[in-house]
Amino acid sequence: MGDRGNSGAGMAGNEQEQRRNLPPLRLHVPEPRFRPGDVADFSDLEIPAAGMMPRPDEGGDPANMHDLAYGLVRVLDAEGKAVGAWDPKLPPETLIRMLRAMALTRAFDQRMFRAQRQGKTSFYMKSTGEEAVSIGAAAALASDDMCFPSYRQQGVLIARGWPIIDMMNQIYSNKGDRLKGRQLPIMYSAREASFFSISGNLATQYPQAVGWAMASAARGDTRIAATWCGEGSTAEGDFHSACIFASVYRAPVILNVVNNQWAISSFSGFAGAEATTFAARAIGYGIAGLRIDGNDALAVYAATRWAADRARANHGPTLIEHFTYRAEGHSTSDDPGAYRSADEGSQWPLGDPIARLKQHCIALGIWDEDRHAAMDKELAEQVRDAAREAEKNGILGHGLHHPMETMFEDVFEQMPWHLKEQQQAMLDEWKAAGL
């Protein structure tokens, strides 16, 4: 302010006079680097080499881990070798199991996307390019650790061995749908798999996961919670509320931010990525923050394992930013060609998570191209067979849904009079109409 603003009457006039010499203010509206028609070029993106980041003790003070929130934990190098302190040194059977779950997730996504295009269901969302985020985490968690996913962690269910036919029944909203056709496709719920009911409202699962973890801690349990949201959803107030609760009560929870660069058509700059990393948000809350290569299944596994061990030892929460790329459209209702460069995905410097884990397994001598091709073929058949079975239970709009009076169930534990009346009225109307 200086001289301006300390005079009495007539101040406004003077100030106005003096401000004429100032440059006009400018509003900064972020713009992604590449739009349709542009040639994507990420060569200037700083990607630290694999194996460079230190791996502190799980019980360490978050104040000493700031570098991890700005760096990038990577295990697999360009040749597919696992290097550095974060190498989880997994046995071959775990590696192959993860590879298989990732490939099954991709095959499932492809089949269900096509089913939507064929009109068998209303909606689908793929997780292509992000399979390591879900499957690496699921492999590192205990099977009864509670997951609070967003809509793009179908890989967690698949990695936990949940029947894909059950998932398909949900997508088709058919008579086999455990959610009775009430939910939009892909909004799964699987309590037996410790997989929390998915909501359409973004980031609401974040404080819920923290609450679950607080309950587990208050009860002296040993289970922990994990939750996921996209980088776009970190802008929601729920993200802040979850972080502050997680920090205050040192909740045994893993807060995953899947930074796939895009929130529908908005690039990550609209969630604040131009100014800092998402992992760095942890620093302000006093939470441990890790930024990792989300297309590196071993890095995801190692970071999740580190965070899980930290939580289980009562050292509190960890925020993990998975740096990845949404390789396809946001959903079946979205055409990414309308807002981003068509070759971004192929130019993405962190590659494809399945190809990288496959390369690693081949380099270890526990896998080869023939086995991989055979696995892909087998998984495609498994998905096709499951889809055929699921379709016997009905597809959307073909009448094989749950009886319509079930619409009124489960609003409350017991149906109150007004719902009973509405239920009866609906049935009477249909009957009167001769249907």
Binding site: V210, G211, A225, D238, I244, F245, D410, E413, P416
Partner: protein
Amino acid sequence: MTEAATESRQMSMIQAINSALDVMMERDPDVVVMGEDVGYFGGVFRATAGLQAKYGKNRVFDTPITEIGIIGVAIGMGAYGLRPVPEIQFADYIYPALDQLVSEAARLRYRSAGEFIAPMTVRSPFGGGIFGGQTHSQSPEGIFTHVSGIKTVIPSTPYDAKGLLIAAIEDNDPVIFFEPKRIYNGPFDGQYDRPAKSWAGHPGAMVPEGYYRVPLGQARTVREGEALTILCYGTMEHVVESTVREMGVDAEIIDLRTLVPLDIEAIEGSVKKTGRCLIVHEATRTSGFGAELSALVQERCFYHLEAPVERVTGFDTPYPHSLEWAYFPGPVRIREAINKIMRD
């Protein structure tokens, strides 16, 4: 109504609420109490006084000032298997949590086909008459009665406050429990220029020490009468009762106690008997719960009605500070409405 007889003593509504929480925490280790200032301090209205000392910080704890977080965390605790009783310090501050309440708590059972539930009771002081101005006086019950999957409960006496709160905590559905803070320490007849009364001597202030329930979904007939039916709840029950007594009109007063699920039989039975109906609430008029009540009465009692259904409510303005007594639906306005209904 009382399921277990125990010694009764006189309690204020605050003491009755505190007693309900104490009884339920004693009975059920899954019950946890959380909210701003509810722990060590015992709550800004003293509703949770002594609970943390008795049950420990794992079951009664202070929270950061984030209503999203309080309700979101409570939903997660419910998913784990606890039975949380979160407090929102004033109903005027429940709006940041609206997404968690409407999109999550209310829908969880439905959207998961019963796999996950939100068995929580959200306690929150509400209503005006205390010079609370715009943000310490609101009555947002109509926002919640509009949401399928939530129950809305409002007591008007210490006895009901305890019995209803116990029933709400035991209920497996999410319950919004609005406590009329104007009558925390004594009933209020709307005569704002007379000295404040305490609960001493009020029949609704004799409260059993131990466990009992007042079932959700059941109205209470405060006074039987033949001339007209008055539907009300919370603070307004006392204002209505006092005005009716002073007028000497033979009104049947029904305290709804639970708005969802509503006791439609009590309403229908009474209006069919009297042929006239007045609805009184503090909340603003347009799309308020009174509109639903009026529609139900009109639909179900049409051929018994001898006069149009009337509503005395807060005006469609934010709650004013200095003009509180012009805004509050007090004895003057209720008297005029009763006279009008009886003339018709």
